[in-house]
Symmetry: C2
Subunit: 195 residues, 2 copies
């Protein structure tokens, strides 16, 4: 079983020994090579995904053919498409491994069963949702109230590790700007520092 998942759950709720024995049954380990897709636009999403190691991104492609990255999921994060997972509708997302990765996969059916049987899991899930909602709210407000340079600096502070691991054009996409703009922003910052 994934020690990481157990560790993460413990950050939110109390876990007894028999509790994480229960978890074993529900999750399946899956390895992904860099470039593998977990699913693509149009797929039905019947699994929730927890990242054990590696790096996964979720993105959409809009009508103009432009990619927009919604999330970079590092170890300890959940990823996938919550909307499709709960509604059963086909997804608009692509989920791709940016590095060789290992994930835990749980089917919708198992998920519902687990929520039903394990109060601690329900509680964990709820707290995760609460924090997730707050985080994405903040991200939305940030897109409204900051310019390109501030967005980049903010990212550098909150997820410095991501900058080391993903190409800059993906960072730009995540921040909602063109790669050229990001390039210029970075350039400006270097100039200002050396002054």
């Amino acid at each position: 079983m994934s020690d990481l998942l157990i560790q993460k759950i413990k950050e939110y709720v109390e876990l007894k020994d028999e509790d994480f024995l229960l978890l074993e049954k529900y999750f399946q380990k899956k390895t992904m090579a860099k470039g593998d897709f977990l699913f693509r636009e149009g797929d039905a999403v019947h699994h929730a995904i927890f990242v054990n190691s590696g790096l996964i991104r979720t993105f959409i492609i809009d009508e103009q053919g432009t990619e927009h990255i919604l999330q970079f999921a590092l170890p300890g994060w959940w990823t996938g498409d919550l909307g499709s997972f709960i509604s059963g509708a086909t997804t608009k997302f692509f989920v791709e491994a940016l590095e060789n990765s290992e994930v835990l996969s749980i089917s919708k059916q198992s998920w519902d069963e687990l929520l039903d049987k394990a109060p601690f899991y329900l509680d964990y899930h709820r707290k995760l949702l609460e924090r997730g909602l707050v985080a994405i709210q903040n991200r939305l407000l940030e897109t409204f109230s900051t310019d390109a340079s501030q967005k980049y600096q903010q990212l550098m502070e909150t997820f410095p590790d991501i900058l080391q691991r993903v190409p800059l054009y993906m960072i730009a996409s995540y921040l909602g700007m063109s790669r050229e703009t990001l390039s210029r922003v970075r350039n400006q910052m270097v100039k200002k520092k050396t002054n």
Copy 2:
């Protein structure tokens, strides 16, 4: 007790008669006149708010002094600041009644007790969070992939009622554009229709 809250909960979970007797104890009715603030930046937020009637907005004011509206809460919606409510930190939000309104208020303490005692409420809350997270994700992706005109048209389709009830400069703020831009977008749409 609020019939609306009960009705809303029933949209998500099964409710027995004794269940909504329980609810009575936890919520307090509060009336707000147009222009009243429920709380402001810097306040500690110890209550969650359910809108029974009227219209409430939540917004922040950024460093440049510009307002950014995060939400218009119509009857049946929850509002406030989830982040501060769960963490206890002071808020950056302003919550203001745009019309004379009636809300239900529940303290953090009661909230936790209710979640603990009433499994149906936990379930309702969880499902609400799930849908809320998906909705705000979609809003974020929309800000990345659409121009001013598309954003306005999208809003017209999803919340036509709001347009009747709030000044346009607030709509503009909600959509993340200046009031002048919104004015021009609307003007263009009229011209195109009459052609």
